[in-house]
């Protein structure tokens, strides 16, 4: 095999330098767009760009081929500046069929680059997309720099020497498209060649076909007169360090594994498969050499209950799900907080209610996380703000869970879970050591062990089975403070309800204060969770326009950071953008009697920066 540099010579065409590019790859679910997108992301990150991605795919595994319902997309922004979103308007759009074109073209900037597989615009393809006329001929594509590429034909020709059947040859189309996109943006093909070797190593003819398709795409760009120049995006100025790309669910998993290690615990996960949380189960299952035990339970209820059982036994217990599963876990979580055992509950939110929009993002489980259990049952709630932030969030959640002996809810969402961004790999030595202790065994001395005796944080001792002399019984019936015996005493019940709440309120002393980015007065935009990037970018845009707008992002929502009210009172107006009908806004109004204004979008899609800029200006 010749080296990549010989196979993929640098372009002889002029190269235009740009600060950042947003590209979307759209095709049928079976067209391999997610793979193409991941490769483009990785190679861009490796070249030092800041990157942010937004995969968008249908809930169906194989929706009818060629239909609008089956369109799968992957958006990536790569930039020489620090970026926080996968971008708004598209600089380039690759469409593998008519359905992909009509469902995505609205996001392409005027005079943006539109690359289409012109072989898939025949009458049968148009019919599948429910189109009477070809959008390539009816003026739809006129405002754009449209480049017709007969990808099917060119790919078949390129891989002919491998002897693959037409069916298999056509599966290499995404690598042809990849070659073309890589050429257009001067991306390094080396990581992708490594990927091909690793992925198809045991099928040499498939590996070879993909390499040939990649090369043909690259060469097509160089040869065709449709492209007069390529684009270069230079490396971003990120803080020094070693970086890698991470996706949210991956970072969350690694954060959990790290938290276990930092606290000298072994991790137990009880989980039931559900989109978009399953990847945490998959990732954790790979790391058994860290002492990770994963249990794929028979249902969501068994998943949370098994975690409570593991917590009782002294493990770091975790359960993961999405909205419908968290609804089922409510009773089990209530027991967890009654038993005052540390554990982590992860809700990777998706569109609701009911089954809702499984593959789309939303922030509509906040009130369920806060209040969705019977009785007075508060839990700490923390929300991750970006894919890489998931790592830190998992560690913080475990710190709070163990310090205050309480299950902690982590909110993520589909956008963060599947999105990717560069992560500066931490030096393990700088990660916090998490002190966890269990009371030691003792000989019977006539005194009673008090399982609900409290320390200065109001936390009870984590006495675990197997410890001599500390035998005790826990359960869901109200406990007498101290002894933990069943108690129906009215005053004790009020005391216990208040104590459980106070314990969580105390966690405010542990978490970071709310930080503000921007002026000390005027309008404050308050965000939480995965809208961090869009809000931060929108506020920055407004600040550059000279507006008196500041931004505060809430990671901990229960308790609120200790300085929250003081910060909010400095501003004339509080604006709360959320991908729900106003759940954090409701909490802010309730807590502080501040008449916060909402910007609310419930479309299963993240905010675009431009819509936020407009909405904040008119709020």
């Amino acid at each position: 095999m010749t080296t990549s540099t010989e196979q993929f010579p640098p372009t002889s065409k002029p190269s235009e330098s740009v600060s950042g590019v947003t590209v979307r790859l759209a095709g049928d679910s079976g067209d391999g767009m997610q793979l193409l997108g991941t490769q483009l992301t990785n190679t861009s990150a490796l070249s030092g760009n800041d990157v942010a991605t937004f995969p968008d795919f249908p809930a169906e595994i194989r929706a009818p081929r060629g239909t609008r319902a089956g369109v799968s997309g992957f958006q990536v922004q790569f930039s020489s500046d620090e970026i926080f979103t996968p971008g708004d308007g598209l600089d380039a759009l690759v469409c593998m069929n008519p359905a992909a074109l009509v469902t995505n073209i609205g996001d392409l900037k005027k005079s943006g680059i539109l690359i289409v597989n012109s072989d898939s615009f025949e009458s049968k393809d148009l019919k599948l997309a429910k189109l009477e006329n070809s959008p390539l001929e009816d003026g739809t594509t006129d405002p754009y720099r449209t480049i017709h590429v007969p990808m099917t034909k060119l790919t078949r020709g390129a891989v002919e020497s491998t002897g693959l059947s037409t069916k298999f040859a056509d599966r290499c189309k995404n690598f042809f498209a990849m070659g073309l996109v890589f050429w257009l943006y001067g991306r390094d093909v080396e990581p992708t060649l490594r990927f091909i070797n690793a992925k198809f190593g045991n099928k040499p003819e498939v590996a070879e076909a993909n390499r040939l398709a990649l090369k043909a795409g690259w060469n097509y760009g160089e040869t065709t007169e449709d492209f007069a120049s390529t684009y270069q995006v230079s490396a971003a100025e990120l803080p020094a360090g070693v970086y890698r790309n991470v996706m949210g669910n991956q970072a969350l998993s690694w954060g959990l594994i790290s938290a276990a290690k930092l606290s000298g615990k072994e991790l137990f996960l009880g989980s039931y498969p559900i989109t978009p949380a399953s990847d945490i189960l998959h990732e954790l299952s790979k790391h058994k050499n860290f002492g990770v035990r994963t249990f794929q339970a028979e249902d969501e209820i068994a998943a949370v209950c098994s975690a409570v059982g593991a917590a009782f036994g002294g493990s770091m217990a975790v359960t993961t799900s999405s909205g419908p599963g968290i609804a089922l876990k409510g009773e089990g979580l209530g027991l967890g907080l009654m038993l005052e055992l540390p554990m982590i509950v992860i809700d990777v939110q998706r569109g609701g209610p009911s089954t809702g929009l499984p593959t789309k993002t939303e922030q509509s489980d906040l009130l369920m996380a806060m209040y969705g259990r019977n009785g007075e049952s508060p839990l700490p709630v923390v929300a991750a703000q970006s894919p890489a932030d998931c790592f830190r969030t998992a560690i913080e959640a475990w710190q709070v869970a163990t310090k205050f002996m309480v299950p902690v809810v982590i909110l993520s969402d589909g956008y963060i879970a599947n999105g990717a961004e560069p992560w500066r790999i931490p030096d393990v030595g700088t990660l916090p050591k998490i002190e966890v202790s269990h009371p030691a065994g003792r000989e019977p001395d006539g005194t009673q062990f008090l399982p609900y005796e409290r320390n200065e944080d109001l936390a009870r001792p984590w006495a675990i089975p197997g410890t001599e002399g500390l035998m005790h019984r826990v359960g869901g019936l109200e406990k007498e403070d101290g002894t933990g015996n069943v108690s129906y005493d009215p005053d004790n019940h009020q005391h216990m309800v208040e104590t459980r709440a106070k314990k969580i309120a105390n966690a405010a002393s542990f978490i970071d204060p709310l930080e503000v980015d921007g002026p000390e007065s005027g309008t404050l935009v308050v965000s939480w969770g995965g809208t961090y990037g869009a809000c931060r970018t929108a506020v920055k845009t407004l600040q550059e326009k000279g507006q008196n707008v500041a931004h505060a992002h809430m990671r901990w929502i229960h308790p609120f950071p200790a300085n929250t009210e003081e910060v909010f009172r400095r501003y004339d107006k509080i604006v709360v953008p959320e991908l729900n009908s106003g759940q954090l806004r409701l909490m802010i109004r309730n807590e502080f009697l501040i008449d916060a204004v909402g910007i609310n979008k419930i479309k299963g899609k993240p905010f675009s920066v431009s819509e936020l800029v407009d909405e904040i200006e008119s709020a």
């Binding site: 594994i257 790391h287 058994k288 028979e298 098994s306 059982g309 089975p465 005790h472 869901g476």
Partner: protein, 337 residues
């Protein structure tokens, strides 16, 4: 090491809590036999855990001087799964009832049994919801008149042993609350089995379903209405005068003597690889048949907790103990100076 430990008596397993079951409840006997069995097998208070769900029987853990969890309705097997998987050193007992295990918790029961988690499940079957004051349960007979079925139950009942066998149970047994010796022996066998031990106990609720098991409990009738299973022995009952013979796939009651000798009778085999015999026995119901009491099935299969922990040990053996820095840098990285 055991020699240095003090020998515990049944009394040592008693907690300081007042027992609050109705006077005359069958639960008292099961509690008493359990304490005796734990003392007899040399169980340690600190390494024994009782986990229950909700219902009268589920108050059991409060009365044991061991670790315990009175959990939520029907879910005890799931809590036990998390605990035993991470703490295989503990002896875990699940205490449940017919409503708890077979109605709200039916799913968990089935799955814990098929996984063969190394725990002991004792199902107190009184065919009624006692704690909620007298509604019919999944084991109530068709026609049962209860608070929620004034015209009689129309639900076909579940047979707990059939559920356990269908879930590929490796240890399936039945006993009776008042048959003290038999109950002790059965609980002891259950504690010694590696894997999920499932024991159904006929338990009388003297308040809401009094006399449901009288035929199997009364001294005067129990010899005729029950047949005690013993591995390798023919099924003989009623003072040795009657036996069970297999006619094709169907059991039949035969008089011993005349043409029929003990060698014609069905011989119990609890170790049979396939559960066909156990199935036939578990379907023998009063009054057509004497109901079998004892161990229906006891076979060996890898336990869930062993499987999980072996995979962890193998992964550590092959890859070495997990190293965070190595995990973070797996795959492509780049350096920003």
């Amino acid at each position: 090491m055991n020699a240095e430990l003090p020998v515990l008596k049944a009394k040592d397993f008693e907690s300081d809590q007042d027992v609050r079951w109705c006077p005359g409840c069958g639960d008292y006997s099961i509690l008493a036999q359990m304490k005796k069995v734990l003392a007899e097998i040399g169980a340690r208070q600190e390494s024994t855990v009782f986990i229950s769900g909700i219902g009268c029987s589920s108050r059991f853990p409060y009365y044991m001087n061991t670790y315990g969890m009175h959990s939520i309705h029907g879910r005890a097997p799931a809590f036990a799964t998390g605990l035993k998987t991470t703490r295989p050193d503990l002896d875990v007992w699940v205490i449940t009832g017919d409503g708890d295990a077979l109605s709200i918790g039916g799913n968990h029961l089935m799955h814990v049994i098929r996984r063969n988690l190394d725990i002991n499940i004792v199902l107190f079957n009184n065919s009624i919801y006692g704690l909620t004051k007298g509604q019919y349960s999944p084991t109530s007979k068709v026609g049962a008149v209860t608070k929620s079925t004034p015209r009689g139950s129309i639900d076909h009942p579940l047979n707990p042993l059939q559920v356990a066998l269908a879930a590929e149970g490796t240890f399936v047994a039945r006993s009776v609350d008042s048959s003290i010796k038999h109950l002790m022996a059965t609980l002891k066998r259950a504690s010694q089995h590696r894997g999920t031990s499932f024991v159904e106990v006929y338990q009388n609720c003297n308040v809401f379903n009094d006399g449901a098991w009288d035929y199997a409990k009364a001294k005067a009738t129990k010899d005729q209405t029950t047949v005690v299973l013993e591995h390798g022995k023919p099924l003989v009952f009623d003072g040795g005068t009657k036996g069970i013979r297999l006619n094709g796939f169907m059991p039949e009651v035969v008089e011993i003597g005349g043409d029929v000798s003990e060698s014609d009778l069905l011989v119990h085999d609890e170790k049979a690889t396939e559960p066909h015999l156990a199935n036939i026995l578990s379907r023998m119901r009063h009054p057509q048949f004497p109901e079998p009491i004892g161990v229906f099935r006891a076979i060996e299969r890898t336990t869930y907790n062993d499987g999980v922990n072996e995979q962890v040990a193998d992964a550590r053996g092959e890859q070495g103990e997990g190293d965070l820095a190595k995990m973070y840098t797996s795959g492509d990285t780049w350096t920003v100076a």
